[in-house]
């Protein structure tokens, strides 16, 4: 598979994601500048964490107006893989490719911690290598990671099985402990925790590897 890691001004987990793909699951990967207007030739697009445009205004709000965005929307619409991590998740909600919004953590402070996530749905391109209810240790690092949506949306998320991951402990005050959600079609995932920081034991955990392996596994099935 060939992945694009889209780099916005202020993205800072782009290389972490790049290495996770190149060294972690040994697939092709390229950094793509936000000024590009085509993602032709890629099978999946990854939006990294960081502080695009300094997190000014609202996190993710300004990136939404970059040239590459229309291609990301096309990918989402065509059912291709789109993954947004941390700031990438914020961008995807600002784009309304994913429901809800990410607001300031309940306690108002930035949190850097390794937390336990629980897999809520294994029937997605991103989670098919996990067991339902499986717990994984993944780092978080965010100040605005509190998932918010209204009751109606939450109901829909549940009905459509769009909740991918929950925190076992509600670290930031998210609605229903939500850590990651997909779109209805399940080809777009946004999550606040950083699986790309959990792909080697020496970094404390390799529980994030299976997420990337799930994508490969899914793609192999699609291709056949």
């Amino acid at each position: 598979m060939k992945f694009a890691v889209v780099n916005f001004p202020g993205s800072n987990c782009d290389m972490d994601l790049f290495y996770a793909i190149r060294d972690g699951i040994k697939q092709e990967v390229e950094l793509v500048d936000y000024r590009q207007t085509s993602l032709a030739g890629f099978d999946g697009v990854l939006i990294p964490g960081g502080f695009s445009y300094g997190d000014y205004l609202r996190s993710g709000a300004i990136a939404v107006h970059a040239p590459i965005i229309s291609e990301i929307i096309r990918f989402a619409d065509e059912g291709k893989i789109v993954l947004g991590i941390c700031n990438g998740f914020q961008i995807l909600t600002e784009l309304h490719l994913l429901p809800g919004a990410l607001i300031r953590n309940e306690k108002g402070r930035f949190i850097c911690e390794t937390v336990t996530l629980q897999v809520e749905n294994t029937d997605t391109p991103f989670t098919n290598q996990y067991q339902l209810g499986e717990q994984m240790r993944i780092p978080v690092a965010h100040g605005e990671g509190r998932y918010f949506c209204d009751d109606k949306t939450l109901q829909e998320l549940k009905e459509n099985k769009q909740i991918a991951f929950k925190y076992t402990e509600n670290i930031n005050g998210s609605v229903d402990r939500i850590a990651g959600v997909t779109n209805k079609q399940k080809n777009v995932l946004g999550m606040m925790p950083h699986p790309e920081r959990a792909i080697e034991d020496i970094l404390g955990s390799d529980d994030g590897l299976k997420l990337f392996q799930s994508i490969i596994n899914y793609q192999v099935r699609v291709n056949n």
Binding site: H65, T93, F148, D150
Partner: protein, 81 residues
Amino acid sequence: MKLVKVYVTLKPSVLDSQGEAIKSAVHSMGYDQVEKVSMGKYFELHFQDYENLEKDVDAICDELLTNPNIETYRYEILEEK
């Protein structure tokens, strides 16, 4: 020239953690008479004058300055000397 002042506030259903934090700070300063604090954003946009400016202001507010999932806005357009 026109000066557009935009006020953005959180929807009532969204918990305003900053507002809450400020309220308790106000109380710890001894001002117990403050019953509620909410925090929002305030923008000033300086526009060249042109027709239909209002339509564009709406678009800028809807697509950039606010996230309609969580925020609402109002604005006023003033003449700038």
